[in-house]
């Protein structure tokens, strides 16, 4: 399963947010989408999830245009985890995870056995079985994110697009969420995850795409992308890079003077 965006351009009014950006993900691969605030990461992810169309360019799934694939089929193939994790009613955890089965629904029929198995497996993978009967409003931020991840996993989609799933989580829950995503990738799911934490991106992603100022600054293996020059160009900061006990880390150090806009 391959999801591919080519020559994507997005404009917000007169401003070009993205100009001719390519991005692809295949089954079993974990791709990190990184870049400064406002660089168009969420917009690009929404284009890939068919939540909005690009102003130019095209997105294909297995070589077929997303419009051709159709909403229903897409909803089974691509799971989307929105930024912020809105939950509007105080539903029980299990009922919320079950919403992941909506793409597989049949008119006027309740859950089937395969739905219930998928829900159960997603809850086990995200370690939320013990929260089954709790309501979302009474969970901590980390627990909520695990439940929302379980909801996305319950879709049993081949591809998962996750928008900043570890923002606002403490280090323990960040690691747990990233391990959960990596496990999903190892079991064959293709994942694109939007991240701000460069150390987590380096440690968990197979490939990184760094976008800034409307285009791709660098793409490839984390060590090739997260160079001082690339990070200075994208973020406008000098970053201290290092390795501790075999794990890479990146610490922002000083702010660089603003780079002039590309005409």
């Amino acid at each position: 399963m391959k999801l591919e965006a080519r020559n994507i351009a997005i404009n917000f009014g007169q401003a070009a947010v993205l100009r001719s950006v390519d991005l692809a993900v295949s089954s079993g691969e974990m791709v990190g989408l990184i870049g400064p605030n406002g660089s168009g990461k969420t917009t690009l992810l929404r284009v890939l999830a068919n939540l909005r169309g690009p102003d130019a360019g095209d997105v294909t799934l297995e070589g077929r245009d997303l419009e051709e694939v159709g909403e229903r089929e897409l909803s089974k193939r691509i799971a989307y985890l929105a930024q912020g994790g809105d939950v509007h009613w105080p539903m029980r955890v299990e009922a919320l995870v079950a919403l992941g089965r909506l793409p597989h629904r049949r008119a006027f029929r309740d859950q089937t056995m395969s739905d219930r198995i998928a829900i159960e497996q997603a809850m086990i993978a995200a370690d939320v079985v013990s929260l089954r009967n709790r309501t979302m409003m009474h969970l901590s931020g980390g627990e909520r994110m695990r439940v929302l991840l379980a909801r996305a996993l319950a879709v049993e989609a081949s591809l998962l697009l996750a928008d900043e799933p570890v923002a606002a989580l403490d280090p323990l829950h960040q690691l747990r969420a990233m391990e959960l995503l990596r496990d999903a990738a190892r079991s064959g799911t293709g994942i694109i995850v939007v991240l701000h934490d460069l150390s987590l991106a380096a440690r968990f992603c197979d490939r990184l795409v760094l976008i800034a100022r409307g285009g791709i600054v660098a793409e490839g293996r984390p060590t090739d992308v997260l160079t001082s020059a690339n990070l200075a160009e994208a973020y406008g900061v000098d970053v201290v890079c290092g390795v501790s006990e075999g794990l890479p880390f990146y610490l922002p150090q000083t702010i660089r003077p603003p780079i002039p806009e590309i005409p």
Binding site: E71, W89, E94, L99, L102, I117, E120, Q121, R151
Partner: protein, 342 residues
């Protein structure tokens, strides 16, 4: 094969099927009680027997021409208000949304007011409900004209507010320019909402439209569940939100438009009922639809029974009673939301 024990399906505070049965029984009981209670003493057994044997006795006529239409219309109107309130609250993800939010109630009211204003009810007995339905249809077209077919929820709410104000202003204009005080009082009393003196013809006219509206609303159930997680997630789950909004607006126009056309404006049922029943369906918007319909029918029938049992003459209007019951509930709801905000 998973070794996990699969838990009971749909476990929630009250089983969904059990809740449906309880509410259905409550509605049937309220329906029978509504038919049995009235101003004139009536031997129900004899009236039913006369009716079944085709005898046009006074009791049979009272039952068929007055009591049954009033009870059935009450159930239909209450069901429409309940199911539409649940659907609107699901779409807008707001427990304070009600069927009138799209402007359909004020537009249907204006349609009926126009009928009064030009004295059309005297020419054609069904002019009143037809005027209301025409108003509802007009507001729906206007809503789409103003908001556009791919409108966001916020744009829809704003368009609804504008339409509400516009039709409300036209209604007050009609009152302002009314040729005589009798017409004014007739309009005002009708706007207060009532089930009295509605014939079976009203039922036959509005029932098919209400049923069609209910079906459209029921089709949105799974999407309303998806919307619990926001619009992007709902879309990613395979729902076309522009189509869902269209179904909801059309369903609301058909069911609430015909309800207002038949009975005038009956407040708070669409707001209160879904809110009361939501915890009992585990906050699942799809399951709240039918349940709120049954609850709305029961509550409307009970309010209409209270209207007839109260020793107040002239009879209190049903819309006045539901508002009197509903307003304190709304205060309580706001108070609770305020405490949650702290």
């Amino acid at each position: 094969m998973s070794a996990t024990t699969i838990p009971e399906r749909g476990a929630q505070p009250v089983g969904y099927a059990a809740l449906m049965i309880i509410l259905l029984l409550a509605m049937v009981a309220a329906l029978l009680a509504s038919a049995a209670i009235g101003y004139a003493p009536l031997d129900i057994g004899a009236a039913v027997s006369d009716m079944l044997h085709g005898n046009d006795t006074l009791s049979a006529l009272v039952l068929v021409q007055l009591r049954v239409p009033r009870a059935v219309l009450g159930a239909l109107v209450g069901f429409s208000l309940g199911i539409t309130g649940a659907a609107m609250q699901g779409l807008l993800r707001n427990p304070l949304a009600d069927p009138g939010i799209t402007g359909v109630t004020s537009a249907a009211s204006l349609g009926a007011v126009v009928v009064f204003y030009f004295g059309l009810a005297g020419i054609l007995p069904l002019a009143l409900p037809l005027g209301g339905i025409a108003g509802a249809a007009l507001s729906t077209l206007l809503l789409y004209g103003v908001a556009g077919s791919g409108a966001s929820t916020t744009t829809l709410i704003l368009a609804g507010v504008a339409i509400n104000s516009f039709f409300g202003a036209l209604t007050t204009l009609a009152l302002n320019l009314s040729p005589n005080p009798y017409a004014v009082s007739e309009i005002v009393f009708w706007l207060l909402g009532s089930l009295s003196d509605r014939s079976l013809q009203y039922v036959w006219l509005v029932a098919p439209m209400m049923l069609a509206g209910w079906l459209l609303l029921l089709m949105t159930g799974p999407a309303l569940d998806g919307l619990s997680l926001g619009e992007d997630t709902a879309t990613s789950l395979g729902f076309n939100l522009a189509r869902i909004r269209l179904l909801l607006i059309a369903g609301t126009a058909l069911s609430v438009g015909s309800a207002v056309a038949a009975t005038g404006s009956i407040a708070f049922i669409g707001l209160v009922v879904p809110h009361l029943l939501r915890p009992l369906v585990g906050y699942r918007p799809s399951r709240l639809l039918l349940v709120s319909g049954l609850g709305g029918a029961t509550l409307t029938l009970l309010a209409d029974i209270i209207v007839r049992l109260l020793p107040v003459r002239p009879e209190l209007k049903l819309g006045v009673v539901t508002a009197l019951i509903g307003a304190p509930f709304l205060f309580r709801l706001i108070w609770r939301l305020r405490s949650e905000d702290r």
